[in-house]
């Protein structure tokens, strides 16, 4: 997906589909964000009293900070706690026509990371976790003693074979986990309950939980989502064990879906950029605003999650998803 050739091929699919069905897909593609409108992803270049500078794919960007700016560095922190070189993601207020050069940071996340996967090895409070990456290389997670109680309340079985989903800060090759992203499923990895049998067409929109993942091979600012029901014949990873506990129509990489954050009432049309292997494993609910139905309907890129109004430390938002499939 990151390659422009692949991206262009996926974009052309909308035109080809429109040639058959005369739909508005082309307009939908034109409407979807080229880059995030209110999110900047990059590396912190400089921290001044009332301003930070961020190196991003758009060059150096400056964001004003104020006492109202919320900064997260494993916990709420002051902007002065940030250090040049920290990877950051900034949600800023939209640029007004009156002051196009000046953006104001609403929230800043520094070193934010998340590991979602199956524990494959445990040594005290250090773990190797299989996150379903293509190269199968596990990720290292360290739970500091200060956070262990909070995490173990919601993840009581920190043993190989069980699922882990924690949020924390990145330090070199490992994640320092500071909070659980959800509650641990009682079943082993691969044993998520099957979805209910559906007699007729899948009702749209589909409600559930939307979560986020760190960019792996994806560009940091990519707007997209890993979808839990990738067509097993689509040339992507085989759909391993169905579609999780939500009935979702099969789609190929490059298909578009409309996803809406029910908590902030923001929506966007986003491309499917990956296989939501881990989203299939969890049969949890999001309780950010009310209680969502069970199951994860989308695993968004960090930029898309923040763009839709989600806060990374919360781990999820209540979402509805609508596919373009007829």
């Amino acid at each position: 997906m990151p390659e422009s050739g692949t991206s262009a091929r996926f974009a052309r699919r909308a035109l080809l589909r429109a040639a058959v069905f005369e739909t508005q897909d082309q307009e939908l593609w034109a409407d979807r964000p080229a880059t995030a409108a209110t999110v900047a992803t990059g590396v912190l270049a400089e921290v001044r009293g009332d301003e930070i500078a961020v190196y991003s794919e758009r060059g150096t960007e400056f964001f004003g900070v104020s006492p109202a700016t919320v900064t997260w560095l494993g916990a709420r922190a002051s902007p002065s706690a940030l250090r040049p070189g920290d990877p950051v993601i900034v949600r800023h207020l939209k640029v007004g026509a009156a002051a196009p050069a000046r953006k104001h940071a609403e929230r800043i996340w520094a070193r934010a990371g998340r590991v979602t996967g199956t524990i494959v090895a445990a040594d005290g409070l250090e773990f190797l976790v299989d996150t379903g990456r293509d190269d199968r290389s596990p990720q290292r997670v360290v739970i500091p003693s200060a956070s262990s109680r909070q995490i173990q309340v919601r993840f009581p079985r920190l043993a190989p074979g069980y699922l882990l989903d924690v949020i924390g800060t990145r330090h070199g090759d490992h994640l320092l986990a500071v909070a659980p992203a959800t509650a641990q499923p009682p079943y082993h990895a691969g044993h998520s309950p099957g979805p209910p049998l559906v007699g007729g067409p899948v009702p749209m929109p589909i409600s559930g939980s939307a979560v986020w993942h760190e960019p792996d091979d994806e560009p940091p600012g990519l707007l997209g989502l890993a979808y839990p029901a990738i067509d097993p014949e689509g040339g992507a990873q085989p759909a391993d064990g169905g579609t999780g506990c939500v009935r979702l129509p099969y789609l190929s990489l490059g298909a578009t879906v409309r996803i809406r954050n029910e908590c902030t009432e923001r929506a966007a049309v986003l491309p499917v950029t990956g296989d939501g292997t881990m989203a299939r494993e969890f049969c949890d609910r999001c309780v950010e605003c009310g209680t969502s139905p069970k199951g994860r309907v989308a695993d968004l890129t960090m930029a898309a999650f923040v763009e839709l109004g989600g806060n990374l430390e919360d781990g999820c938002f209540n979402a509805t998803l609508r596919t373009m499939a007829s």
Binding site: S4, S7, A11, R12, R13, L15, L16, R17, A18, A19, V20, F21, Q26, W29, A30, D31, R32, P33, A34, T35, A37, T38, K94, V120, P160, G161, Y187, H188, A189, G190, H191, G194, L197, V198, G199, P201, V202, D231, E233, G234, D240, G241, R247, P249, Y250, L251, S252, L253, G254, R258, E265, R266, A267, A268, P271, L308, T323, M324, A325, S326
Partner: protein, 284 residues
């Protein structure tokens, strides 16, 4: 009647062992996880353990059948039947242990169909099969029924035992549910070859095939109930992409066709000019 009951156990046990083996093999090969007593062994050993169990069942089923007649009568037959009894006895004990340690786990006896938590019915079934296998030790070589009455008695014994086994098998309910249910087309796994086969059998294909440069698709993708297949073609001396949309409901379903100039395109999404799409979409 008791002698007839003892005689029918051998083919019944062999059939059950073959059925269990086939279901386990299908499940172990097709899925990442395993269920049943193998859920108690370390994660990396579960699939090998399931496959080993499957191989044991196959070997025992074959041994029971091969020693059922005059060939293999005597000690080989007794050994095969005792081994089957040992397997079912061990299974009953393992299921009892599984029920205590992993009350959420299914027995895995018949693969994917055995996902409901282990109940007393399943343990009773394994115990019954153990007793059935023990009862066959010493049974003389099987032969065809001597009379019509004998044949009816044999059939009645088989039917009676099947009724008991069905009553003790939660898998029957699952199997009936699956047989009576069909996923809607957007949830169904459909291989690409079947889509291409449906396309090649369609009137649209026969009509537009002449415009294609090659019959090898350049792109195939799926959106819910539709799979799209793209071929390079020439229409009115212009290079085009011919796209066929094949509905996945089954054979004889509609196939739609469209054509797009090969050059027609727009900038890929990551290179498009920026505007404020979220604001637009918020109105929806």
């Amino acid at each position: 009647m008791l002698a007839v009951m003892r005689e029918v156990q051998v083919p019944l046990l062999a059939a059950l062992l073959f059925g269990g083996c086939a279901a386990k093999a299908r499940h172990a090969i097709g899925a990442r996880h395993s269920s049943g007593p193998t859920a108690m062994v370390p994660l990396r050993l579960r699939r090998p353990a399931t496959l080993a169990l499957c191989a044991t069942e196959f070997a025992l089923g074959a041994a029971l059948l091969l020693t059922a007649g005059r060939v293999g009568a005597g000690n080989p037959a007794s050994a095969a039947r005792a081994a089957a009894a040992l397997l079912f006895g061990t299974a009953a004990a393992a299921l009892h242990e599984l029920r205590a340690r992993r009350p959420d786990a299914g027995c895995g006896c018949f693969g994917e169909l055995s996902r409901t938590p282990v109940s007393w019915r399943v343990i009773a079934r394994a115990t019954l099969l153990c007793v059935a296998a023990l009862s066959t030790i010493g049974v003389p070589p099987l032969r065809m029924p001597d009379s019509a009455m004998q044949a009816w008695l044999t059939l009645a014994a088989v039917a009676a035992e099947l009724v008991v086994l069905v009553a003790l098998s939660p898998e029957i309910g699952q199997a009936l549910l699956r047989l009576s249910h069909a996923d809607p087309c957007e949830l169904r796994e459909v291989p690409v070859w079947r889509t291409l086969s449906a396309l090649h059998a369609s009137a649209s294909w026969r009509r537009y095939q002449q415009f294609l440069v090659t019959t090898a698709p350049t792109d195939v993708w799926r959106e819910g109930c539709w799979r799209f297949v793209v071929f390079p073609g020439v229409l009115a001396s212009r290079p085009v992409d011919m796209v066929f949309a094949v509905h996945l409901a089954g054979r004889g379903t509609p196939v739609r066709v469209g054509a797009l100039d090969s050059g027609a395109s727009f900038a890929p999404p990551l290179e498009m000019p920026r505007h404020d799409p979220l604001e637009m979409s918020n109105r929806v």
